[in-house]
């Protein structure tokens, strides 16, 4: 009886910590939105005629982008899951790079390959074919697939890796071929993982702005975020900005509710954390198919990055010293954001796994659909009467990016923590392991891989962020993305391309350090 009470207290402690973290995140997202609405001083603006079109375009491009990304990610994740080759771990990390790119660099990178003067059109011309235009609805989808295929692949690959090795062993002893493995192991896993991946990418694309406008070829590609931008800058209509931002959050909530309604837990149970051998995928046809899938994805995802490197490397050495100082500043902001994300995500995920309420998970997902413009402005409205915004620019940048990375961190951590608790929680409880010891001994060793991925994302986001720093006017304390932006604004496009290489290296380097750190010693 005494042990039971202690267990109850331990679980309640985890739930309380998770609830507190979730409440803090919800306040961080909803507070600024409310403040923007209040700053409108009662002038309740309705939606404008163009807003309906913006809403429809936003939904359509996000849905198409999510569907295309996940459809392509399934074969890629399957190929990566059942193949072992030299450099595989490095390739998995490298393929994640596009998701980490600041949008300006990503657009330039894509257009260097698919643009009018890009490699694809050069090849088409050499083959005597007419030019291909990237601009239009298809361009928006291609760009969003470029961004999000890495994320979709990682989320689905984690699903594959979560299937205990013993299941594949059992499948082999039962004489399962690829079709049976797909039916009994892979499809139930996909049924669990794919809705979440679809929703995640749908939500990421909801707040797209610059990428959609440029690749969409003009104002027919107006998204809600651009309408918010217009409300702020062109009309200074705070009420309308807040209204549109609330609409974005409403879409987020609706999408999450839908996912929870359709996603089913696969229920594989716990294994012994051994690497999965694949006895079903030895056929020549499957080998060739997987090789082609991996090669095509690598070309699509890494080609534009190679273009960024080729353009910028010659100008890297000549970068002015303040750009390097800014890079150090950005690195510090990135590490702070990573730590904050890890704390928040672990708190919410362990709280949920110990019976915490679902709203905590929902609150943690909110930042994915928040308008960066509204969040930044709202935080400014809150901070300005209390402190010098410039002095807090870097701290707020870290906090905002920790929040923006949290939904991805939760997507990765929630299932992993739940598995760890489901598989080992009862044993830990019977041994009286609770509190921080439980976190250290039971949870952390089993979630190192998703935790490394999540913290890496937060670090990369923070290193590349150019939202808050502009609104908060950091004065002399410029970050690397701000210096890049300043170089471009001063006609120094070549130096800017050098700074883009530095930013790419910084964001990706930080991600790789955290991500590989998480995989060190993991069974892979």
């Amino acid at each position: 009886m005494a042990a039971g009470a202690a267990t109850g207290r331990d679980a309640a402690g985890f739930r309380r910590a998770g609830g507190a973290a979730a409440a803090a995140v919800a306040a961080f997202v909803l507070g600024p939105l409310a403040m923007v609405g209040l700053a409108a001083q009662g002038a309740v603006a309705g939606l404008q005629p163009g807003d309906g079109a913006a809403l429809r375009f936003t939904l359509a491009q996000a849905a198409a982008s999510a569907a295309a990304s996940v459809a392509l990610a399934v074969p890629l994740a399957r190929a990566l899951a059942r193949r072992r080759f030299a450099g595989r771990a490095a390739l998995v990390t490298l393929l994640g790079a596009p998701f980490l790119l600041p949008s300006v660099i990503a657009v330039m990178a894509l257009l260097a390959v698919f643009g009018r003067g890009g490699a694809v059109n050069a090849a088409l011309a050499a083959a005597g074919l007419g030019p291909m235009s990237i601009y239009g609805p298809h361009g928006v989808v291609i760009a969003h697939v470029f961004f999000n295929l890495p994320l979709a692949t990682r989320l689905i690959l984690q699903g594959w890796q979560a299937i205990p090795a013993e299941r594949f062993r059992l499948a082999a002893t039962l004489g399962f071929g690829p079709a049976e493995v797909a039916r009994h192991l892979e499809r139930p896993m996909l049924r669990e993982v794919v809705p979440g991946a679809l929703a995640t990418i749908f939500l990421v694309c909801l707040s797209s702005f610059a990428v959609a406008l440029i690749l969409g070829g003009g104002p027919r590609a107006t998204t809600l975020e651009l309408a918010i931008y217009q409300a702020f800058r062109f009309d200074f209509d705070l009420g309308r900005a807040a209204l549109l931002a609330a609409l974005q959050l409403g879409l987020c909530a609706a999408a999450l509710a839908l996912v929870w309604a359709v996603a089913l837990p696969a229920g594989f149970g716990a294994g012994l954390d051994r690497p999965a051998g694949r006895w079903d995928a030895g056929g020549v046809f499957l080998r060739v198919q997987d090789a082609l899938v991996i090669a095509a994805a690598a070309a699509f995802l890494l080609g534009p990055l190679a273009a960024v490197l080729a353009a910028g490397l010659p100008h890297l050495a000549g970068l002015p010293p303040q750009v390097w100082t800014a890079a150090l500043r950005s690195a510090a902001v990135a590490v702070a954001a990573a730590v904050l994300t890890a704390v928040l995500a672990l708190a919410i995920a362990t709280g949920r796994a110990r019976g915490g309420a679902r709203w905590a998970e929902a609150a943690g997902m909110l930042p994915i659909a928040v308008s960066p413009m509204v969040l930044g402005t709202g935080l400014f409205v809150i901070v300005f009467p209390l402190a010098d915004p410039a002095a807090l620019a870097l701290a707020v940048t870290a906090a905002v990016n920790a929040a923006l990375a949290l939904p991805f961190a939760l997507r990765a951590l929630l299932p992993a923590v739940a598995e760890a608790e489901a598989g080992h929680g009862r044993l830990a409880t019977s041994l009286g392991i609770g509190g921080l010891a439980r976190l250290r001994l039971v949870i952390l060793p089993r979630v190192r891989r998703p935790l490394g991925f999540a913290t890496g994302l937060a670090a990369a986001f923070a290193a590349g962020d150019l939202g808050v720093i502009v609104l908060f006017a950091g004065g002399d304390a410029a970050t690397l993305p701000l210096e890049l932006f300043r170089l471009m604004g001063a006609y120094r496009m070549e130096a800017a391309s050098g700074a883009a290489v530095l930013l790419l290296a910084l964001a990706f380097g930080l991600f790789a350090v955290f991500d590989r750190g998480g995989r060190l010693g993991a069974a892979d």
């Binding site: 003067g117 440029i214 062109f234 006017a473 004065g475 001063a490 800017a496």
Partner: protein
């Protein structure tokens, strides 16, 4: 939550630091980001003014002109700013309506193509919107909007909802074509490769060969000539003239240091600061320096080529012009 000792001690530290600085007044200047940056005019102007003012200048960069105005409106009368640099004549009507600004009180012999008597806003430089191209690739550029529309050229422009030059082009077409502006945009639409959120993306894409022409300024080729020794870039002179952008500075009505603010504005249109403007902001100075424009900068087009749109006219024009633009380019 109680403030932790760390937070309290940091706050105390900031307070002490603030008191130590109280002996020398601090002039707070808001400007757009490219003004403040290492490559803009900000650092030289700040150092030049600090050398004689017995003060220190805290110069903060925030986005562009529209972002500056939004920031001032958010801060309202609590704004710590003394001076704002970087509004333009397409924003000054809205800016004046906020009541946040005081007369600048500076008299200067301005060399603008138009007469200037605005008591609130003091011009420090000006430019003309123009389409820029590569002369080696396009030796005979179009000489007007109709010719551009009838050509097979591909152009990149900026979105007027998020970009100052984008708004400039919108008003340029509207002031030239009036009721026919919507029709002109329908004719121009096939020429538009894409629309970018800001000037930087558009100009970068143009330099990467994504388009034949880009909306920028008549002064853009000067950067390539002077800083890169590259004479290949040129702007296309349009028969109907070029819309003028006058960039202005102003003093806040509740400026903590009103006298210093006025002295700073006087310095901004003085010979030292004006000599810095051309090769850092890449615009024409509001007061021509004694030595004239730098070698290779290129003289401004004849005064007749500059179309000036008064602030009130610009403010009245932008909403209907945006509606026409959206309708034409959304099809």
């Amino acid at each position: 939550m109680r403030p932790t000792p760390t937070v309290a001690s940091i706050a105390a530290g900031l307070l002490l630091a603030g008191m130590a600085q109280a002996q020398t007044p601090v002039l707070t200047v808001y400007a757009y980001d490219s003004f403040v940056s290492e490559w803009g005019p900000g650092p030289a102007i700040r150092a030049g003014f600090e050398a004689g003012c017995g003060c220190s200048v805290n110069m903060l960069g925030m986005g562009d002109g529209a972002a500056l105005l939004a920031r001032l409106r958010l801060e309202g009368e609590r704004s710590p700013a003394d001076v704002v640099i970087g509004l333009d004549t397409n924003l000054t009507a809205a800016a004046a309506a906020t009541g946040l600004f005081a007369p600048h009180g500076v008299t200067a012999a301005l060399d603008l193509p138009v007469a200037w008597d605005d008591p609130l806003f003091l011009p420090y430089d000006w430019g003309l919107f123009a389409f820029v191209h590569d002369r080696t690739l396009l030796p005979a550029p179009p000489q007007g909007f109709a010719e551009l529309a009838d050509s097979q050229l591909r152009i990149i422009i900026q979105d007027p909802r998020s970009s100052t030059p984008g708004l400039g082009l919108l008003l340029w077409v509207k002031s030239v074509h009036g009721d026919g502006a919507g029709e002109m945009w329908r004719r121009l639409a096939p020429r538009v490769v894409t629309v970018t959120p800001g000037w930087s993306e558009a100009y970068g894409l143009f330099l990467n060969g994504e388009a034949d022409m880009v909306l920028s300024y008549t002064t853009s080729p000067a950067y390539h000539r002077i800083a890169e020794d590259d004479d290949s870039k040129a702007y296309a002179p349009f028969r109907e003239g070029h819309l003028m952008q006058v960039e202005v500075a102003a003093r806040l009505a509740r400026a903590p240091n009103p006298d210093l603010a006025q002295a700073f504005l006087a310095y901004l249109v003085g010979p030292e600061a004006q000599a810095v403007i051309p090769t850092t902001n890449w615009m024409y100075p509001a007061v021509m320096p004694d030595g004239g424009l730098p070698e290779g900068f290129g003289a401004p087009p004849a005064a007749g080529a500059a179309l000036f749109l008064a602030p009130d006219a610009a403010a009245a024009m932008r909403d209907p012009a945006l509606a026409e633009w959206l309708a034409a380019l959304s099809r």
